[in-house]
Amino acid sequence: MRTKIRYVATALGLSATLALVGCAATAPEGGSGSGSAPTSIVIDTAFTLETADPGRNYVPTGYMVSKALYETLLDFAGSDESTAVPGLASYTQNDDATVFTFTLADGRVFSDGTPVTADDVVFSLNRVKGMTESKANFLMEGIEVAKVDDKTVELSTATPSLKLPALMTNPSLAILNSKVVIENGGTTDNSDAAEKFLNGTSAGSGPYILDSLSVESQVVLTGNEKYNGAEDIDFDRVVIRNVSESATQKMNLEGGDSQVAVDLSGDQVAGLSGGVSVTSGPSAQTIFLLLNQNPEIAGVTANPEFASAVRYALDYPKLLELAGAGSEQATGVIPPSFLGALTDGVKQDLAASKAALAKSGYAGETITLEYPNDYPVGGVSFTPLAERIQSQLADAGITIALAPAPFTTQIDEYVNGREAFSIWFWGPDYADSANFLPFQAGAKVGLRAGWTAEMAPSIVELATAAETATSMEAREGAFSDFATALQKQGPFVPLIVPGSNIATADYITGVNYNSTWTMDIAELQAK
């Protein structure tokens, strides 16, 4: 018996020893901001990050990083994305909205102390224009850049382009220190080899400089001592961490391990404990139903009356329940923060739905609804949304079968116009209503719905009027008319504008959501 006890004791002792070896360390001091004012901040977000080279960047986390390291000719004030304001430069335009003259602000310098000049602007914009392999290249499509003098640059387009000022706020079009970048392989064509350098060192005039970059785990920024712009930065060191699981972001924030959580869903922010503030508001994404107008693909959904039947059958407030804080019913394809967005969305009208259904030729057949089931947008998962749509349409006499698939599988079918009835989403590439013109007949998203220009020439005319307007007043009216017409006769049923919820430690202020760069890190302040 004593022998057995010795065996047991030996075995237990061994396991305890090895377990202790494995767990010998103690947790470091966590917490945030106890004692003196914090000088560093940790931001948790699910990374979409490929590079710190702004000219090659085209993903949200990359925009957030670029916005902190570099400056653009123009900017937006806070969350207001309706009007571009001066950044590194102010601008004027001609009456035709084809020539835009930018004048650089006095005294602005890069992080090495050298002044920002027109040559830097010309090089930076022409670099993006010339690097056709850059994902950001399309932003410079149709724009010519010319130096007027050391302080002045002229951008011109062949046709009126009131979207140009908004384009010049995009962090991909940030102004780089041309001398430094050229010395490190920078060119204005695809032979450019400066990306590696820019992934290790920033060469901009922004409030921060790059300390270290790992596109898989974290980015560290430190204050730019030479910065002389308008921002009054409060944090000397910023760590942006890749935390893909939003539940972990929430716990890190509540536990004081981070001070900002970017990707919390509406439900998660509702369950946050004390010591945390949340900035909620509608994002710039629109979740919508697509009803294909190509009879060969779609069958009955190709009848415009069927789209009307679906449009009026849905109970939008009930769908909105699935979206949580900050979300709104989509009033049209243009989300509420953009020029021309409609003030009111469609309301459920079952009588109108039944009348339209009767005219559509629908004979009770089962319609397949396709959607990506692994790609929540703004915290909205498409599976419960599809299930609720299925239930609501069943009440209106339309039988739906659900066909979920992974995003990467589904998107190919969607972009090639092979889906008859599906749930998708659309977000802007830059902060301007022109981003929603692809919904017109014959354009990119329209064609995904099998909707050719010949099918709706009046919509095409409205879109053209919006695109070529030369004054902001005319432009706003044109976009509003376009959105209204699309809402009445288009093959899309806008459903939800999901919310954006940025949660911070409650001593942090200055959170302003932006549809492109999510938030401007330099605007964050400690109370």
Binding site: T3, L18, A27, T51, N137, S217, M251, G255
Partner: protein, 358 residues
């Protein structure tokens, strides 16, 4: 006849690799491994290119994918205009030069991405194996020696729980409990944000911190390992406990153990020198398999703990149709499995002379 004598008979004294059975065996296994790796490249390339979806849209995004110039430049840069067999051949040629391609998702060389991801996972997997081995062997031995007693029943229930608990759920619960509620574990990631990673030598933060003499960083890295190791080891502990119990029970019934006991052997010498050594082959097999699965199957745990390892990389690559990334992960995981199997087979011979003779 002692075991050394038998070993000598099995490996007669000849020049190291000329015609000795061991050398022949090692060379055969190495050759087989190379062939299998070739097979892995074929399978991963085929699967990656046969899955539905458009990698160009997935890689470039909506805006850039609408720009013909960018699409053309992308196709040319990645050789996507070539027939698939040519692409595969190019892949193999580049592979021989250590080039695994460029990730469509991170825009970085896959080899460099994996060079960062693999050590992160190896570090946590080694920790999990150490803890699993210690606890699993102890509990399994305890259960075997106490066969039929309450402690045996308790261990069997515990091992069943370890095997049954969903890892993702356990990760969230333990993070909430130990970090958020009890405050005895640090937050997510490999290091606290206030610290910078140690200079890279092995990629294992604990080892690199020690090599650099950064004691604070070492302690912090150890602290961050605690929860992932704990969660990951639960399943392996359950598995090992059951195998150790079964194996030890078989050995305890063996004649040589009875003889040893009759001659008065007892205590640790009996446990480690005879019983566990006799049960070591099945245990080694399980440990090898568990280590392989830990390296490739840590996706959810890595997601919860924001651990930038192989699991996260594999998941992100797969869900973004990053074909070079998927192929790189497949190749690395395949190579690791082959390496572990190879090592386990060799260790069989070290642990049991009868294997050497076979």
């Amino acid at each position: 006849m002692g075991k050394n004598t038998r070993a000598t008979r099995a490996y007669p004294a000849r020049s190291p690799l000329s015609g000795s059975p061991l050398a022949g065996y090692v060379l055969r296994r190495l050759g087989m491994s190379v062939l299998l790796l070739f097979g892995v490249t074929l399978v991963t390339f085929s699967l990656a290119n046969l899955v539905p979806g458009n990698p160009i849209v997935a890689a470039l995004g909506e805006g850039a994918a609408s720009n013909p110039a960018t699409v053309a430049a992308y196709i040319e840069k990645h050789g996507l205009d070539q027939p698939l067999p040519v692409q595969y051949l190019n892949y193999l040629v580049n592979l021989f030069q250590g080039d695994l391609g460029v990730s469509l998702r991170t825009a970085q060389p896959v080899a460099s991405d994996l060079a960062k991801a693999v050590p992160a996972t190896i570090e946590v997997a080694i920790g999990a194996i150490i803890v699993s081995l210690a606890v699993g062997v102890a509990l399994g031995s305890l259960a075997a020696y106490r066969r039929g007693k309450i402690s045996d029943q308790l261990v069997r229930v515990l091992s069943l729980i370890g095997l049954s608990i969903p890892t993702f759920w356990m990760a969230l619960v333990s993070f909430n409990l130990f970090f958020l509620q009890l405050r005895i574990a640090p937050g997510s990631g490999r290091l606290s944000p206030i610290l910078s990673p140690p200079p890279t030598v092995t990629g294992l933060y604990t080892v690199d911190a020690l090599l650099a003499g950064q004691w604070t960083t070492f302690m912090d890295a150890m602290a961050h390992l605690m929860l992932p190791v704990f969660v990951l080891s639960l399943f392996t502990i359950g598995l090992l406990t059951r195998f150790v119990r079964t194996s030890v029970l078989e050995v305890l019934d063996a004649d040589y153990i009875r003889a040893g006991r009759a001659k008065g052997l007892s205590g640790p010498r009996m446990l480690f020198g005879y019983t566990l050594r006799g049960a070591s082959l099945p245990i080694l097999t399980i440990v090898g398999l568990a280590f392989g699965s830990l390296l490739s199957g840590t996706v959810l745990v890595e997601a919860v703990f924001a651990w930038p390892g192989l699991g996260s990389y594999a998941y992100n690559s797969a869900t973004s149709l990053d074909l070079p990334g998927v192929m790189g992960v497949g190749l690395v995981v395949g190579a690791i499995y082959l390496g572990i199997n190879f090592a386990v087979d060799l260790l069989y011979g070290v642990l049991d002379p009868r294997v050497r003779l076979a």
